[in-house]
């Protein structure tokens, strides 16, 4: 089939060449295959296939789509974090020693680690979080285009699946997550690796563009009556900015990957060394996407911190309008700084100076935000829950990362530490607290809303300490190493003075991994003891925005009656005015979209398309292409795409829930983490 041979299966390679590096590769592949087998057996044993298909995979409900995004993200996080630990291990033993990994295998590891963390961990995590929360905060029943939402999910999942397939079939790229040509051109990387990177990234970039269109339309057109833009919770504002960035910034990536593909497959000369190609065009296109991408990831986390800090301080957010303006400024400025990723390109001092200054400018709105969050906490009744701890640790750590960013924004300094471990330390210092801590905080915060029970605070805090201490132990040494001259992506060292720093970093990486393990333990433990942790009334944290005003988990239509909004912190207002949990006067029929198998069909077609392109199996390319577009066209002939939930059903369900809420005892904030918290908050008027 195409260029695919039995020798490309990783187990065959391990068998034929049983060295440690191949062994690790084979083991990783085995874990993947074993995982798939276990899931298949469990689903069959518990007869879960029907539920999986009808309740989840074909669902277009934004809440389920959101949860599926986050599941994808967790699975990919597990792989990428193990890869990170493995690389730290390799480097910590590879001082005047080849270590356990071959350079080629090491190259694959840093390429998959970066690509997964950005495209298949962080992106699905923020997209899932926005999907779950944003429509409920707006008082909407769904996003504007529910099916498109599911299609975006499946395109992203197809990209993730391709990266996973590369673990077993063939090799992944060794060109890093940025895949700079000419190294990734056909001349220097003739194998299938770069093609895996190209097609997985292309699929997810198309998915993200469609997501951006969908979210922006939802926020502009789908808000509840009275929910003006300046009454929206800040998470919605940051979602809006992220969506706008997705709309504008994904196209350069799509184009860059397609051009690279044309260079590789058809002998074009976009980025080649000869015949008029220009590899610096790639760097420009990639970072024209890549820098806004940083803010695509970080802004939703800023939104989460705003919600978490305000809720757990028991105060309305400080400086709401300044936060909105700061978010918008960051979104605009993010398009003016891409060149700082390659100050060393040779474009002259003036150009570098302009981009350096623009880069430092972004520090200003970010600083405004930090002060707003701090001032929100001042004189608040602060509760140090897991979500809040992650938010506070974010504030401290992110500021350090921001300062090193301002240092790097100086072109002369950048020339000295360009591509060193100093840079690696800097961007991990931004995205771990800025994105991952934010998403974990959001996960702790909204989990009870999504599943109807609280997560264990004890395990959550254990995880928090591992993540925090682990972060400092892993990445502070990398700053020092970078200043000592250690370059990134190095498989073997020849300077004995690096050894101690690298060993500390490895211990830190183990702690980070324990942080992840504790998150898993927390999930399992909380599921097992869910009956003492249930919050059916839906408001476990004395929440302030509309998503807390419905049951936990919410009905598929979110709101029995679309709420009317009269100001900021809509739900807090209702509670203070005694208007929460009041029976509505009338109920109406609710129209919800029917499930559709179009999205999974497109997803499977996309996996087939990507795989076939990687391995040059042209008949499968044609078949997959036809499958994808037939599904789209066939869908447009379906006229019955919605079903009606009658008003009587809505009334029965909603009144039953209201009766249950009225019987619930109210919980004072001190008892938030006890079984008395059933999701009805005590209101202090």
């Amino acid at each position: 089939m195409g260029t695919l041979t039995p020798q490309d299966i990783s187990f065959v390679q391990t068998f034929e060449n049983p060295v440690m590096s191949e062994f690790i590769d084979g083991a990783a592949g085995s874990v993947l295959v074993l995982g798939i087998i276990i899931v298949t057996v469990l689903l069959t044993y518990y007869r879960g296939w029907k539920t999986l298909w009808f309740d989840w995979l074909t669902s277009v409900d934004h809440k389920k789509v959101g949860i599926m995004y986050i599941v994808v993200s967790f699975v990919m996080l597990a792989r990428a974090i193990i890869e990170g630990v493995l690389m730290r291990y390799q480097q910590s033993i590879a001082v005047n020693d080849p270590g356990v990994l071959t350079p080629d295998h090491f190259g694959q590891l840093f390429s998959t680690h970066g690509s997964i963390m950005i495209f298949f961990m962080a992106m699905p995590f923020i997209t899932g979080m926005i999907n779950y929360v944003m429509p409920q905060q707006l008082g909407a029943r769904d996003v504007s285009f529910p099916l498109l939402n599911a299609i975006s999910l499946w395109l992203t999942a197809a990209g993730a699946a391709l990266v996973m397939i590369s673990l077993v079939v063939g090799k992944f790229s060794t060109g890093g997550w940025t895949a700079y040509p000419p190294y990734t051109g056909i001349e220097f990387s003739p194998g299938e690796g770069v093609d895996y990177w190209i097609w997985s990234i292309s699929l997810t970039s198309i998915g993200s563009t469609l997501t951006g269109v969908n979210f922006a339309t939802t926020i502009y057109k789908n808000r509840a009556p009275g929910m003006t833009l300046f009454r929206m919770p800040l998470f919605c504002w940051t979602s809006l900015c992220t969506s706008v960035l997705m709309i504008f910034a994904m196209a350069p990536l799509t184009i860059a990957t397609l051009m690279l593909a044309l260079d590789r497959y058809a002998g074009f000369h976009f980025f080649t060394n000869d015949l008029g190609g220009n590899m610096m065009n790639y760097a420009n296109l990639f970072w024209l996407f890549g820098h806004p991408e940083v803010y695509i990831l970080i802004l939703p986390a800023f939104g989460v911190f705003s919600e978490v800090i305000s809720t757990f301080s028991g105060k309305t957010i400080y400086g709401y309008k300044s936060l909105v303006v700061a978010t918008m400024s960051i979104a605009v400025l993010s398009f003016t700084v891409w060149l700082h990723h390659f100050f060393t390109m040779g474009q002259g001092a003036n150009v570098n100076a302009i981009f350096g200054i623009a880069t430092m400018l972004i520090g200003v709105p970010t600083g405004v935000k930090v002060y707003d969050w701090l001032l929100t906490m001042v004189r608040g009744r602060i509760r140090l829950t897991t979500a809040m701890l992650f938010s506070i640790m974010f504030l401290i750590t992110f500021v350090i990362g921001g300062l090193t960013g301002v240092i790097l924004a100086n072109p002369p300094v950048d020339f000295a530490v360009h591509n060193s471990l100093f840079l690696v330390a800097h961007f991990h210092n931004m995205v771990i607290p800025g994105v991952l801590f934010g998403m974990i905080a959001g996960y702790q915060f909204w989990f009870p809303k999504a599943f109807g029970f609280r997560l264990s605070e004890r395990w959550g805090k254990a995880s928090f300490w591992c993540w925090s201490i682990g972060f400092y132990l892993t990445f502070m040494p990398l700053y020092a190493l970078g200043l000592m001259g250690a370059m990134r992506r190095t498989v073997e060292w020849f300077r004995p003075e690096y050894l101690g720093w690298l060993q500390v970093a490895f211990i830190g990486a183990l702690l980070l991994f324990s942080g992840f393990i504790f998150l898993c333990v927390q999930l399992v433990s909380s599921v097992r003891h869910r009956d003492q942790r249930r919050v059916p009334a839906g408001d476990p944290w004395d929440g302030r925005s509309l998503e807390w005003s419905n049951s936990a988990p919410p009905p598929e239509y979110n709101f029995a009656v679309i709420p009317k909004v009269s100001g900021q912190d809509a739900f807090t207002r209702l509670k203070e005015q005694g208007q929460a949990y009041v029976s509505p006067a009338t109920y109406e029929d609710i129209v919800v979209p029917k499930n559709s198998m179009v999205a999974p069909v497109i997803g499977v077609g996309a996996i087939g398309l990507g795989f076939a392109l990687v391995w040059h199996i042209w008949w499968l390319v044609a078949v997959s292409f036809v499958i994808i577009w037939s599904a789209v066209i066939a869908r447009s002939f379906v006229t019955e795409t919605e079903r009606v939930i009658p008003a009587s059903t809505v009334r029965a369900d909603h009144e039953a829930w209201l009766a249950q809420v009225r019987e619930c005892a109210t919980t004072p904030r001190e008892q938030e983490d006890t079984s008395t918290n059933v999701g009805r908050a005590e209101v202090l008027a």
């Binding site: 504007s144 285009f145 563009t209 469609l210 951006g212 269109v213 969908n214 922006a216 339309t217 502009y220 057109k221 789908n222 709309i247 504008f248 994904m250 196209a251 350069p252 799509t254 184009i255 051009m259 044309l262 058809a266 002998g267 074009f268 000369h269 976009f270 080649t272 000869d274 015949l275 008029g276 190609g277 220009n278 065009n281 296109l285 024209l288 066209i633 447009s636 002939f637 006229t639």
Partner: protein
């Protein structure tokens, strides 16, 4: 007379079909947003072409050697006329209760679009016969990428038109069909604007410089 509120930029159905008009708000708005993302894609291709058209010739053919300006002019006329005929189709969608006018204008638009594609393919064929293949230089790579991406968009628009003709025949003038035709119209006009830019910046500038 009561003025209909304009809920979205684009073809206004308000006076003829208020129900569809109200339904169209998020759909048309969302499509505008999508078109914006698509235009960014073309902007990137134009930027790439600008950086490679002169710098990337690598001793190969220059724009003056390979561009057939009369042919590009005929293509421009075909595409511009197709925008007019689609405009007529939009008016028929709003004001004529029958399907015949609408179908007539759509078929005419399709023929003009297909003529454009046929001319473009012919141009490409002649260029490759002269040795001006995309593998020859960065300039030609960027040229084919930009112009063919537009061509693929037009082809997608033609396929979409066929689907819409079938739907008009099978489903009639339902709200969904109307909304799809409104989006197709926006798509078609956008491609026209992109072509005007291609004709100006690629063909006219290329031959003038």
């Amino acid at each position: 007379m009561k003025r209909q509120p304009v809920l979205h930029p684009g073809l206004n159905l308000g006076s003829a079909d208020e129900y569809s008009h109200a339904q169209s708000e998020p759909v048309i708005f969302g499509f505008w947003v999508f078109l914006m993302a698509d235009l960014v894609l073309f902007a990137i291709l134009f930027a790439t072409y600008a950086s490679m058209s002169v710098q990337g010739q690598a001793g190969g053919p220059s724009p003056t050697d390979v561009f057939d300006l009369p042919s590009a002019f005929i293509e421009t006329m075909l595409l511009l006329s197709s925008s007019i005929t689609f405009g007529m189709a939009s008016l028929a969608l709003k004001y004529k209760a029958d399907r015949l006018h609408l179908v007539f204008w759509l078929v005419l638009t399709f023929c003009l679009g297909a003529g454009f594609i046929a001319m473009e393919v012919r141009d490409f064929w002649i260029m490759t016969q002269q040795g001006a293949v995309p593998q020859r230089s960065g300039f030609l790579s960027a040229f084919y990428m930009l112009v063919a991406t537009h061509g693929i968009h037009v082809t997608a628009g033609l396929c979409w038109m066929i689907v819409m003709l079938v739907q008009l025949w099978l489903l009639g003038r339902t709200t969904e069909v109307k909304l799809r035709l409104m989006r197709l119209a926006l798509f078609w006009h956008m491609l026209d604007i992109v072509w005007v830019c291609i004709f100006t910046f690629v063909y006219l500038f290329g031959v003038a410089l």
